[in-house]
């Protein structure tokens, strides 16, 4: 989308006029929506995967391990591109909408969920692993059953140590949503590509978008980092 100001060089005197005609906030809102939906989805799928990876059933453990190791070694770009060119174009997966834009958005979320869930799974699993076996043994020794051990002893400690790693995954997910630009979702990176190609102020445009991502990721890191330190189990 060329700016209306291309034909008026004198208008460039005004520093921020390059923002006019572009919906920067709208693009970042799309980034936020992608992040939020993918975060919820990957938390659910990742928890299921983690449950499989720590289960006493070898087959489930094998499936969880295989999923995580395969998905983590494929570039996210391949997954996102496949969801569009493969799932949608070849297999006709429409995800319940005919609208091209909505479909791209949903496919991107699907790809992010599939990819990020592997990292969520690892964060949760390492969280459970930080709980010393002695804690559960002590719980069994005082006569608590399986569900009581899990509910009162293991999970409360595991959740606390999992906040930090999960916050890292969330920050990585926020940055990863830019990959959706590869299948035409109108989020921040896609808009930056359009703007940087059509406007003269390369450096300013870069700074605006960089600032946007710093604003999105920095508070998440600070708040959740503070929370994880505060809640950490002192051992």
């Amino acid at each position: 989308m060329p700016s209306p100001y291309v034909t008026h060089p004198e208008a460039r005197e005004i520093v921020f006029d390059f923002l006019e005609g572009y919906d920067v906030l709208g693009a970042f809102w799309m980034t936020v929506k992608l992040t939020a939906l993918s975060a919820v989805g990957s938390l659910i799928w990742g928890t299921l995967l983690a449950a499989m990876r720590v289960s006493p059933v070898p087959l489930m453990r094998g499936f969880g391990t295989a999923y995580v190791n395969i998905v983590r070694n494929i570039p996210l770009t391949v997954i996102i591109l496949f969801s569009s060119l493969g799932l949608a174009d070849i297999f006709g997966v429409t995800l319940g909408t005919d609208d091209f834009k909505a479909q791209g958005f949903r496919l991107a979320v699907l790809g992010f969920v599939a990819y990020t869930a592997a990292f969520v799974c690892e964060a949760l699993r390492s969280g459970i692993n930080t709980v010393p076996v002695g804690q559960a043994e002590a719980a069994r020794a005082i006569g608590l059953g399986f569900s009581q051990t899990l509910r009162l002893i293991v999970l409360p400690q595991a959740f606390r140590s999992v906040i930090g790693p999960l916050a890292n995954v969330l920050i990585a997910l926020t940055k990863n949503t830019t990959v959706a630009a590869a299948i035409g979702v109108a989020e921040a990176a896609a808009l930056m590509k359009t703007m940087i190609e059509n406007e003269a102020q390369t450096l300013l445009i870069g700074a605006v978008f960089a600032f946007g991502f710093v604003v999105l990721t920095l508070p998440t890191g600070l708040i959740l980092g503070w929370l994880s330190k505060r809640l950490a189990v002192k051992r």
Partner: protein, 308 residues
Amino acid sequence: MSSVLYDTPGPRAKRRNVVLSVVFFVLLVLLLWWIYRTMDDKNQLTSALWKPFTESEAWTTYLLPGLANTLKAAALAMVIGLPLGAVFGIARLSDHRWVRAVSGTVVEFFRAIPVLLLMLFANEFYSRSTNVGSADRPLYAVVTGLVLYNAAVLAEVVRAGILSLPKGQTEAAYAIGLRKGQTMSSILLPQAVTAMLPAIVSQLVVIVKDTALGGVMIGFTELLNARGTLAANYANVIPSFIVVAAMYIVLNFILTSFASWLERYLRRSKRSTGAVLGAEDMEELNPAAVGGTFGTGAGGGFGSGTGV
């Protein structure tokens, strides 16, 4: 086998586990069968679509040159990014507050920005402000983006590597009269580099994965980009995706295995101080990093016997 979640199973738990195994197995078979049927329905299993991969043309014309470019970009990014990262990592440990502040800000800034933005920006910057030819520009842009991001991550690795060394190393160096710079260059850094090696190899996996961004967004002819050309030529979108994904998995599997072998080797080796920065530490520094779960003791892969 017991873990923090459950005790060694008794007769009842054993029966239940068998039932769960059977149910899960049936579900898994149904899923695989459904995938097979869907592929078959869309004629994705016909031999014509897969045949190109048995002939040398597909490999020599598309996939291997693509793979070579992927490796070239990744290697360049690591070779340029590591010294840069070392400089910033050491600067963050400086005794002067302003040096710490400046390098800390730079590192945190580049860690907060998506690699894709850096690549897009570099691409545009090279096209406007330099005379880099349009044929070389994508490679330059991809490497620049990767270097900026990974130097920031590697700075953290270097910092963690130096901090992981026992304090006695610094104290002993000062005791024999070495200066700060001498201590860093002849005592701390050589040991830190050894301790960091596994983490550095793990970071290579992230770099390899990120090169794919350049293929789609700025036309760098790496593996994923070559897949597009290949699929356009042979009209085999799904098989090409599967083959390329498998190539990435194998490549990254080799790197991860090497990293975890290195980690085990360094932990065993008697000559070091015992400080090793492994894949698990890497996840904290860069959550996008692929941890060495392939067969590492800590990760607990197939049958590694770690319990959970």
